[in-house]
């Protein structure tokens, strides 16, 4: 077994880690804002008191865990619909 993050630590920090990561990116003009989000794993670790490896594990799992599995499947239909909408407007 590789690295393992305990469910307690994962559930406690997953939302916070995601919000501080690149999962949501804010820009002023065209400059990425890195005060609250778009932070590196090491920067997040420093803010919440975990180590970099723990943050990396939480972020990696949480990014996949955020949306239900069906969302990937639904994406296909979403893209088909958007593509059709574009050509129907032309």
């Amino acid at each position: 077994m590789g690295r393992y993050i305990s469910p307690e630590i994962y559930n406690k920090y997953k939302q916070q880690v995601l919000e501080m990561s690149l999962a949501v990116q804010n820009y002023v003009g065209i400059e990425q804002q890195r005060d609250e989000s778009c932070l590196t794993d090491t920067e997040i670790a420093g803010k919440i008191g975990l180590n970099t490896a723990q943050v990396r594990e939480i972020r990696t799992i949480a990014f996949n865990d955020l949306h239900p599995a069906d969302m990937w499947l639904a994406s296909d239909e979403e893209k088909r619909r958007k593509c059709q909408r574009y050509f129907s407007k032309k």
Binding site: A23, Q25, Y27, I30, R34, T40, F63, N64, H67, K82
Partner: protein, 281 residues
């Protein structure tokens, strides 16, 4: 007349297949890149970054009502652009005697390098770097300890296009914002991007519908499914089959581009005019 090392390197990059080649200084990149994600965190003593940009997708990929056909035509780029970066790295080491390496993987932002090399600017569409003439580009990057003259950032922003500014003033939206309000939001003021937000976590389910992420997520769903018949349906069905296919062939890029489908910059860059007609030699 002999050309400079910068000109020779750019010429080689173009000869190997890049549409554009630009040079950025590590000093410029490090003003924005956080520690651990800087060129000299990867290659000790790196001074310069060479960026190759290519419109690797055939323009015909955008001229299909079948979005899956479009995606399939956008999935050829990674090995191709890394090959250019690899060959130029060897050229620099052999000819000039400076260390060079390919920056592949997630630790260095190719978008930031491209911006610093003057290849384009960030757009309302997910901060994707757009080039005024080439539109959407794929990037490859070589790092080197060789001090090269940098091209520097563009003075003018590529996005928003004047027609988007007009639409914003009239309707309060642009093509990209209208096409994907789930992933994108933003505002234009005085003809420039005032602010923008990109929900990458939503975009990932679209841009990488078939990917390692969807493989892991779907596999977990199947493992947690108590009904063996439903479990069989998930694992042996068409969706998971196509995910396994994609992961096994490493073709996981370019599965969405709906925010850019009607972008006037991208539309212009992918529009062809016939140079030959029946009857011509």
């Amino acid at each position: 007349m002999s050309s400079s090392p910068e000109e020779k390197i750019k010429k080689l990059g173009r000869k190997l297949g890049a549409d554009l080649v630009g040079i950025a200084s590590v000093e410029d990149i490090n003003k924005y890149a956080p520690e651990g994600h800087r060129p000299d965190d990867m290659l000790m003593g790196a001074r310069s970054v060479i960026v190759y940009a290519g419109q690797l997708t055939p323009k015909g990929a955008w001229h299909s009502r079948n979005y899956l056909f479009h995606h399939a035509n956008r999935s050829f780029g990674i090995e191709y652009r890394n090959r250019i970066a690899f060959d130029v790295a060897h050229y620099i080491e052999d000819k000039y005697g400076y260390y060079a390496a390919v920056a592949s993987g997630g630790n260095l932002s190719a978008k930031l390098c491209a911006e610093m090399a003057g290849m384009g600017t960030r757009s309302l569409a997910a901060g994707i770097v757009l080039n005024r003439d080439w539109g959407l580009l794929n990037f490859g990057v070589t790092l080197t300890t060789m001090p090269l003259r940098a091209d520097g950032m563009l003075d003018e922003q590529v996005c928003p296009h004047p027609s988007c500014v007009k639409r914003w003033e009239k309707e309060g939206t642009t093509f990209c914002l209208d096409a994907c309000p789930e992933c994108l939001s933003g505002e234009i003021e005085n003809g420039k991007i005032k602010w923008m937000r990109y929900n990458r976590h939503i975009c990932a389910t679209r841009a990488q519908t078939r990917s390692i992420n969807s493989f892991q997520r779907t596999l977990l769903e199947a493992m947690n499914e108590p009904d063996p018949e439903k479990r069989k349906s998930i694992i042996m069905g068409t969706f998971f089959g196509s995910v396994v296919n994609t992961v096994s062939t490493a073709n996981s890029m370019g599965q969405c581009g709906e925010c850019l489908r009607g972008c006037p910059i991208v539309v212009r860059s992918r529009t062809l005019k016939p140079k030959w007609k029946p009857g011509d030699e």
